[in-house]
Structure formats: C-alpha cells, structure tokens
C-alpha cells in the first residue's frame, strides 16, 4: 500500500510534466492540424534556460530571494522565453508553408526539432548538466508513512494550478470557445469575428510557455538534464496527447496524468526496465480500441 501510494504520487508528478507538455501538442494540433515536433525541444530549451538562470543567479537566489523566489523566477523567465521562441518558430518555419500543405509543415517541424536539439548541444555541450543543488528545495518528510519531498508538493500544486487555469480559459471562457471553434471550422469562426491570427499567436505562445515551465520543473526534479531530453519527454507527452484524444484539452491533461501514473506503477510492480514498453503498450491498446483517445469524441454534425 505504501509503495502504491508513493508511486501514485511520483506518477502524478511526472504525469503533470507530461500533461503540461501535452497541452502544447494538443492545442497546436487542434487549431493547425500540425504535429509540432519541435515542441519537445522547446521544452528542453526551457529546461536549459532555467538551468542557466539558476547557475548565474545561484548566489543571488540563496542570499536574497530564497528557493521559492528562484524557482518562480526561473519558471517565469523560461515560460516567457520559450513562449517567444514558439511564436518565432511559427513565423519563420511554419507560416510561410501552411498554404503548401500539411506534410511540408510537419517536415519543417522535424527540421526545427533537430535544429533546436543541436543548438542546445552547441551552447550547453553534449554532456549532462546538473541543476545546482543549492537552488533546489531538498526538504523531505513523511505523511502517514509515505515519503514525499517538498519539491514534489510544490511541483504538483504549481502544475495543477496551471492546468486548472488553462482548463478554465479553454473550456469556460468565450475566448476559449473561440479557440475550439477555430479548430473546428476556420471560415465560420471568421464569420463570428474571430481573428485566426490572434488564436494562432495565443496557442504558439502559451503551449511552449507551459512546455518551458515543465522544463524547469523536470530540471529541478531530476536535477540532471541532457540535450536529448526533448525527444524523450516529447514522445511521452505526445503519447499522452493521443491517449487523451488529440486536440482535446482536458484529454491532454488526463492523458498526461494517466501516463505518468501507469509508468510509475508499471515500473514499481512490473519492471523498471520495461516501463516504456508498458507505456507504449497502453498507447497501442488505446489506438486499437478507442482510436479517438479517451476524451476525443466526435459528435456527428447533421447536414
């Protein structure tokens, strides 16, 4: 039981990373019908951005703002930086070729992914980098026999707040309805007065911003980061997106959290070595029995 609860908690923690990253895939796919392969690398870039900020600001963090301040600052700056990167990528790598078709844009996204991965390697080197210990909260404690770390709690709370805010914007506001409407039918959305440019700007800023934030969280949680991490997390988060139903925002959140929990339970009860096999087995099963994903239902439109 103790192991189960601990693994649930660990699963929710990494699941919230997946969920935050998955939102970017899902939003972009929903509106643009484009799988933004560069998204995982934007996440990695966010992680490195946070790393550099905390290394530079190490002394300042420990002497002035404190761990919480340093963490928030690193996430905020990574979010803004990666959000801007997302917009720039859309402008230069996708926008000029939308009219040519969907496949060229996907290829371009792959190109950007490789480009970003190499940029990270050139700037920060091919070896692992480690977030400085002094800027990461290390407090651990026990609740009812379960070991938890303060960092874990903070990450969970922050992630859930971010997920809740995003859920609210997309599902409960008229602007969110406009995003969903643009994903369904751009022409009719335009007839409502919805400017698709605004929507595109929003999704390409917000998706990567959330990914960048997750990057800092992952860096703090595991401390070690590498230039290939974008692929690894990107693939998992993309799997989560499919699991929940691509284009569906609550689906991406649910998919991410479930995937994290499966992965941790799988590694606890089956085998750590096979945890990825376990994850992709679930993906395959979902694709076979529910190809639209868990929440990706499509209401038939009557004509």
């Amino acid at each position: 039981m103790r192991i189960f609860l601990e693994q649930m908690l660990n699963g929710l923690t990494i699941g919230s990373f997946y969920a935050l990253i998955a939102l970017g895939y899902s939003m972009v796919y929903g509106v643009m019908k484009l799988i933004n392969f560069a998204h995982g690398d934007l996440f990695a870039l966010g992680s490195y951005l946070g790393f550099t900020l905390l290394v530079w600001g190490n002394a300042y963090v420990t002497s002035h703002v404190g761990l919480a301040g340093g963490m928030i600052a690193a996430m905020l700056i990574a979010a803004i930086g990666i959000g801007i990167a997302g917009i720039i990528i859309e402008r230069i790598a996708y926008r000029p070729i939308y009219s040519v078709g969907r496949l060229p844009a996907v290829v371009s996204a792959l190109g950007v992914s490789i480009f970003l991965e190499n940029i990270i390697m050139v700037i920060w080197g091919p070896r692992y980098q480690a977030y400085p210990v002094s800027v990461v909260p290390t407090l651990r404690f026990e609740i009812g026999g379960i070991h938890v770390t303060l960092l874990q709690i903070v990450i969970l709370i922050l992630s859930f707040v971010l997920l809740a805010v995003l859920y609210y914007i997309i599902q409960k506001t008229t602007f969110g309805a406009a995003i969903r409407a643009s994903a369904l039918d751009r022409d009719t959305a335009a007839l409502m007065g919805i400017n698709i440019e605004t929507i595109i700007f929003f999704i390409f800023a917000l998706g990567p911003a959330l990914g960048g934030t997750a990057g800092v969280m992952v860096g703090m949680y595991y401390r070690q980061i590498s230039f290939t991490m974008g692929w690894n997390y990107g693939l998992k988060a993309f799997t989560a997106t499919i699991l929940g139903g691509i284009g569906n925002i609550p689906g991406a959140m649910l998919g991410g959290l479930l995937l994290g929990v499966f992965e941790m339970l799988g590694s606890a009860y089956i085998s750590t070595a096979y945890k990825d096999v376990f994850v992709f087995l679930i993906l395959i099963l979902v694709l076979i029995f529910r190809p639209r994903g868990l929440l990706g239902e499509k209401v038939a439109e009557k004509v």
Partner: protein, 247 residues
Amino acid sequence: MTTLLKVEDLKIYYGSIEALKGISLTVDEGEIVTVLGANGAGKSTLLRAISGLLPIRSGKIKLNDQELNNVKAFKIVMEGISHVPEGRKVFGTLTVEENLNLGAYTRRKDIKSVEESKERVFNLFPILKSRRNQLAGTLSGGEQQMLAMGRGLMSTPRILLLDEPSLGLAPLLVRQIFQIIREINDQGISILLVEQNARKALSIAHRGYVLETGNISISGLASDLKSNQKVQEAYLGGAAFKKKNRV
C-alpha cells in the same frame, strides 16, 4: 429608402473558373431581398464574397457607401453584416450557449449586452433556451438551423445573410423558419436571403434576383417575379417540387 448593401459588377473566381461574372445588386434598409438560383448558380459564392471569405477579382461591395473589398472576413461582422452559412455550420462540439456567445464574440467583454442579445434570441427560438447546455452537434437539423440563425443575430447585425435556411427541413419547420425571418425583418434588420424554395422566398421578400451560372438573369419586385413566366417555369413550376437532395 436608403441603400444599405450594394454589390457592383462583382467578379469572383475559383482558380480559373469564373463563378460570378459581374453581378450587381442592392439591399435597402429594412428590405428582404432574395436571390434565387439552381445548384451551382453562385449563390453561396455571392454571400461568401460579401463576408470577405473569398477574394474579389473585380467590382465593389459597399455597406452604406463604405467599401468592404479589402476588409478582412473577421472584421466584416463588426461592420454590421452577419452571415448564416449554408448547412448551418454550427460548432458541433460546443454547447448551444457557447455557439450563441461566439455570435457576439466581438463584444464578449460587454457581458450585459451579450445576455440581452441572448434573451432576444431565446424569445425568437425558445427551444434554444431549453437546449442551452446541449452540444450543438446533437441538435436536430431544424434546431441547428435555429441555432445558426440565433448565433447570427447575436452580433446585432444591420443585415443578415441567410444561405438556404430551409435546406433539408420538413414543410412545417420551413414555414416556421420563414415566419421567423419575417419577424427578424420586422425588428428592422435587412435580409439577403438565398433560397431554392422560390415560392416561400418570394412570399416574404420585397424584391428578388435570379442568378444563373454566375449572372443575374432576372430581377424585380417579388410580386413581379412570382408572375414572371420564366421564373414560374424554372423555379415555381415542376422545379419547385423537385426537392433538393443533399445528404
């Protein structure tokens, strides 16, 4: 009467295909004007061009003498033109209420006035009120048409462009929809009504135009069109009973 909408010598192309070959028409303040025509005549093309969804090759579209040629589609609704597209095009995975809210998207910050518009729409289409939390895609065809029209009214337009509102509806519902179009017009909203149900359309319209493969062939008062021999033969005679078959 002052002219509200004016289309002058409009030419629209799809690639190299000329869909509208230089047509002119006007809609006056407070008028119901109908555009009749067979499948593929260019009726929807005309409405889509007015809404800014299609590039204009030549000619002019004006609202109150303000040229709209280069106004982007998403800005047209703010000028007071609301387009209810062919086939309803409700947002199926959004609720009825979300669809209505999007109709007033451009003034979404003004919650009070959005709620007022919604109440007016609910008065016109009471069924929408009881279905407000239902997904639009699960509504019946008739309800979807009502939602599409209600959504179009949410922007408080000066002119409503209706593209075949009676398409695929049972006769009773057709009668109801046309009754409501008249009520909307009584509230001072001008209407440009594209229809294949010529008999019904001419019964509520003030004036009409007949569109034939991209050209206007006949135009005049609705009463004159009803008695026009060519219109009778092509649109009110046997042809009127040939229900349009679309799935």
